[in-house]
Amino acid sequence: MSERLEVLLQAAFPDAREVAVVDRTGGGDHFHVTVVDGRFSGLSLVDQHRLVYDALADPLADGTIHELRITTRGEG
């Protein structure tokens, strides 16, 4: 299931310096995603996370993602 999220994130952030998805429990429904992308620069954390939520709207809506932790950075 991590792969599905990674594909969605890479499609949404094609220029990202880093896209990582960690299945926190091994159960396929608790994830920690990290996206490092220059387009986050200047955005509030709320707006940064909204972009990630938009990318993962389907797995969020269909219950695939039970719990999601998000780390975003504009640089680094």
């Binding site: 709320v46 809506a61 932790r69 780390t71």
Partner: protein
């Protein structure tokens, strides 16, 4: 427009700091809800919570208002500050205190002043989240 949505909006707009969580300020039933409260406590903020487990419609209406898909959601003076990850990050960087100070002045410093309010009538029926 539902009455419930109006009551949620009123709560967001009238409570200086309000966290919509799974559980209450005394007992969270979700690690992320607990993390958000711990971040607020770490900076010494007083806060109000609303238990979304009382009625599934609370979460539906809240998300319709905020366009934020997950719980918890922390609002300061009517504005969404973030979920658990953001509030924790802002607390660690000092930005949470700065935001509270900017929006609320000194009044936000109320360590231990925590309460849970209802947005539905009656005690409701809490459905515990599955394992």
């Amino acid at each position: 427009m539902s009455d419930l949505r109006d009551r949620i909006r009123d709560t967001i707009e009238t409570e200086p700091v309000v966290a919509f969580i799974k559980g209450t300020h005394e007992q969270a039933y979700c690690g992320n809800s607990e993390r958000a409260m711990q971040a607020l406590r770490a900076v010494g903020a007083g806060f109000t919570t609303v238990d979304v487990l009382v009625d599934p419609e609370i979460r539906q209406e809240l998300t319709a208002l905020s366009s934020w898909p997950t719980i918890p959601q922390v609002f300061v003076k009517g504005e969404l500050v973030g979920g658990a990850d953001i509030v924790q990050e802002l607390a660690a960087s000092g930005e949470l205190e700065a935001t509270l100070q900017e929006k609320l002045g000194e009044t936000w410093r109320r360590p231990g002043e925590e309460r849970t309010v209802a947005v539905t009538d009656g005690p409701g029926l809490r459905v515990l989240p599955g394992a």
